[in-house]
Symmetry: C2
Subunit: 335 residues, 2 copies
Amino acid sequence: MELTLDSPLDMHLHLRDGDMLKLTAPLSSDFAGAVIMPNLVPPVTTPDMMLAYAERIRAALDGAAFTPYMSLFFTALDEKALQAAISTPGFFGFKLYPAGITTNSEGGVSNLAEAERTLKLMEEMGIPLLVHGESHGFVMDREQEFLSVYRHLATAYPKLRISMEHITTAAAVELLDEFPNLCATVTLQHLLITLDDVAGGMLQPHLFCKPIAKRPADREALLQAALNGHPRLMFGSDSAPHPRCKKEACGCAAGVFTAPVALPKLAELFTTHGAADKLQGFISGNACRLYGLKPASKQVTLCDTPMQVPARYRSYGQEVVPMYAGQTLPWSIKN
Amino acid sequence: MELTLDSPLDMHLHLRDGDMLKLTAPLSSDFAGAVIMPNLVPPVTTPDMMLAYAERIRAALDGAAFTPYMSLFFTALDEKALQAAISTPGFFGFKLYPAGITTNSEGGVSNLAEAERTLKLMEEMGIPLLVHGESHGFVMDREQEFLSVYRHLATAYPKLRISMEHITTAAAVELLDEFPNLCATVTLQHLLITLDDVAGGMLQPHLFCKPIAKRPADREALLQAALNGHPRLMFGSDSAPHPRCKKEACGCAAGVFTAPVALPKLAELFTTHGAADKLQGFISGNACRLYGLKPASKQVTLCDTPMQVPARYRSYGQEVVPMYAGQTLPWSIKN
């Protein structure tokens, strides 16, 4: 059995920098392209930083056919600065982080009121806003508590393209249905796991991420939305590599490294549920339509030949552990 | 400021075996005595195994004034076997585990109906039943889902002394109020932390335990019950050491090692909340009254001289990390 996807896109990807970028960029380039997150240290806040980062990514890709859609770390900006952003080649949109909510987000927004003028300009200029939507509340409630902010944004800026990044709850799916100007990404792991997989048996640091995996009913709502071809739900892996020594340690960093297994697992998931015809929209079509993207043509064929996932990937002095490390998956990418 | 406690008891303690027992027994003997959990490999199921384990504990204590109240791993037993248990010196009660619910509990009860005859006999013979009360459901719901079992036990065996071990939810506190024949233990960590402390920031394997820490409202209900001197709530640390290499690893084992810091932290907690007068009942009085215990007299004086908690404890080739490792606590045990 085979499944061919046209220009699959990962709408939310972390590639990191330096040696980690060199290791992970080639492992994340099965896709035709991806929206690259800007939460480096320091965060990517200016067009110049973005251009330099895109150049480092291209170098790390070593010729792979893969388009980095670059995002800038949201800060309050004036029209001139926004104009500079959209005239920079490769720019895709702004990523808004509540201050301190996840890896390297300390410089994020602490008071949304101060960003209102920038958001209005973004709406007028057609610049997408990608949002890490979590409050600073109890870990299982953070996304749900943030939904009122999404509601405010969707109401106050009806023409702003607002993406709820990596949604994890049934409540977020309901909100997505309620506001046609909202769209959302969902990760591989949130379609597959719940908090039980992270902390229900032994503690599994490699499945620990932000937002944390939620309840079975939440996973089910996300999965059904994806399998039913929700027109405003897109795949965004949030593949987030950390060095193994930082994952298997006291004070484990948040993030699941899924890039190398994402397409095979999605092929398995959608075919198992009889929804193979919905995968193209989820993996590319919805994003192209919603954002007006025209990715370079790249066909990726998946087949039901097993894939042996390495226990870890190592090079450039870096070591990362992928999701399903050491396991055999039923689908693989056809070479 | 000083606070003197008469014969403090830890009503739920793991000492492990072998070299780990040699390391942890002296670190757990600030108390006058403790109820010792039987989930070794294999579990302590017979009076002979129990006597031998008690002897190993005494040897490891190296003369410390500390009484091990021994528990047996619950299995369906006849009257003769129960009689043999209660005639064995040092025997305290049976610990019931749902099969596979926590560390070394694979041989636990999978069908409560098969245990009914044994429970009836225990009721008649006055043998306490200590229960690890969790279902096999979603990790945040396991205790609440088990409450119907407690309700059944409390109704079907009105004279059985049933202890809900290491309760973690407001719902369990409510059930405790509802049935005067139920009692409960609560750990140090569940009075202090929520899931946020385990997984709200970086992942903290040393705070990962079963039952998992719950919501802020749950912690608050447990804390208020303890501070208000609930007459059927007892301290049970569930101090559960694991080798550091098993805690700081992929697949971290569940358990928090609190024994060396329990009394200083409880002194801090109760005095900070103006409830110093309620600590004696929580730490000893309630248990003595509910179980008719008459522990050997041992006065432990706590004082507000800071305690420097070691980053780890090492000996006999074993290494364990305590709660508050490397931190300074405001109270300590007066030598």
